[in-house]
């Protein structure tokens, strides 16, 4: 006791880092957001004005102070490029759970392991720093690529919300997936410390 046991920074990986979003990210964000296909996979079908994004970035300060939501920019390490964002939101401190949301806006940066590593970092943050017991996420049934990544990282399907998502005239199911702190430690931290 008394010696600190480092398991590695939850903010810096090998390909990406997580950092708070700043208002200076606004121009870059406007370049990469509002991509119709990317957003459709994240079940967000609306596009946003610069003013809306500015208000959103500003609102993150208050949410972080209230500990209801922590949102981070995902930035590549090789050329310091902002490619998306990741959050733990709907934080419930009594039951100790949160909901993960992630989006890689830049289409040239998908399928390169950036998102996967960002999620792993956020899991480290949630279980190692925030002391959560359970982390859940929602994913549309048609987002097979994301489901594959989530499964690989240890998330399990825990529910299917039938016809929860309406898109272009059709309804799609939404999956709830989750991972418990013991499962995270078993898969990602065993043998990693010391």
């Amino acid at each position: 006791m008394g010696e600190i046991d480092y398991k590695g920074s939850p903010f810096i990986g090998e390909k990406v880092k997580l950092r708070p979003l700043e208002l200076s990210d606004l121009d870059r964000w406007m370049q990469i957001t509002n991509n119709y296909e990317t957003k459709a996979f994240a079940s967000t079908f609306l596009i946003f004005s610069k003013q809306q994004i500015e208000e959103w970035i500003t609102s993150l300060k208050e949410k972080a102070n209230k500990q209801s939501n922590f949102t981070f920019a995902i930035e590549t390490l090789d050329n310091q490029e902002l490619i998306g964002s990741i959050s733990v939101r709907f934080l419930d401190w009594i039951n100790r759970h949160g909901n993960l949301g992630v989006i890689i806006h830049d289409p040239s940066k998908v399928e390169k392991g950036y998102g996967s590593e960002a999620i792993l970092l956020l899991m480290k943050f949630c279980f190692g720093i925030l002391n959560l017991h359970r982390l859940e996420l929602f994913v549309a049934e048609y987002n097979a690529r994301a489901i594959h990544v989530y499964e690989k990282l240890g998330f399990k399907e825990s529910a299917r919300q039938r016809q929860r998502i309406y898109f272009e005239g059709a309804y799609y199911d939404n999956f709830v997936m989750d991972i418990l702190e013991d499962e995270f430690r078993e898969q990602h931290e065993k043998g990693a410390s010391a």
Binding site: K66, Q67, W93, I94, N95, R96, L130, N131
Partner: protein, 191 residues
């Protein structure tokens, strides 16, 4: 799995009942709490106006909504008589730690076990409902009656802030005590 296990209502003890404060409690608070004799054990030593006490009760609802603090009136289990207050504040949700406070206002109600009972209710609330890991409290070193109760309920001494309290020309130490979740659960099992 799937069956709920009740371990006892934290709001009902053997002799007391905890309920949210209401504005109608102000008159009782003014009667016995706002006396120099009572306040010298908890501070601040300056009496509050009823307007300040009204604000205190309003802020309780606000803090409960924000999950920053939970304060309850302590009432006599059968008669409903207002006895005092207890609460947990400075809740730290990441480290799962909080600080509790308790007071039985009317000296005539002291030494009757109300305080210990209410404090045990509060600990049940903190550990079984709020899912906290640690509960701390501070007590002035001249408040030996309270220290005895805290020890009996299971709090351990962890240190003292020296000369932290200035009262009537002298400095007194502020004792710190705490109890951990596992210690509380072990004690409750034996009961």
């Amino acid at each position: 799995m799937g069956e709920i296990t009740f371990k006892g209502n934290p709001f009902v003890g053997e002799t007391v009942r905890l309920r949210p404060y209401e504005q109608s409690d102000v008159e009782h608070i003014m009667e016995h709490w706002n006396t120099y004799n009572s306040r010298r054990f908890l501070g601040p030593f300056t009496p509050h106006s009823s307007l300040q006490e009204e604000d205190f009760i309003k802020s309780q609802s606000k803090w409960a909504n924000e999950k920053k603090a939970f304060g309850f009136a302590i009432t006599e289990k059968h008669t409903g008589e207002f006895l005092g207050g207890t609460g947990c504040h400075e809740i730290d949700w990441i480290n799962r730690s909080t600080t509790v406070g308790i007071a039985i206002h009317n000296p005539e109600n002291h030494e009757k076990g109300y305080g210990s009972d209410a404090l045990r209710c509060m600990l049940k609330f903190c550990f079984n409902i709020l899912n906290l890991n640690r509960v701390e409290l501070g007590v002035y070193d001249f408040n030996s009656r309270a220290i005895h109760v805290y020890e009996k309920v299971g709090f351990k001494h962890i240190g003292r802030k020296r000369d932290d309290i200035f009262f009537e020309g002298s400095y007194y130490d502020h004792m710190l005590m705490d109890i951990l979740r596992d210690e509380f659960l072990e004690m409750s099992q034996g009961k």
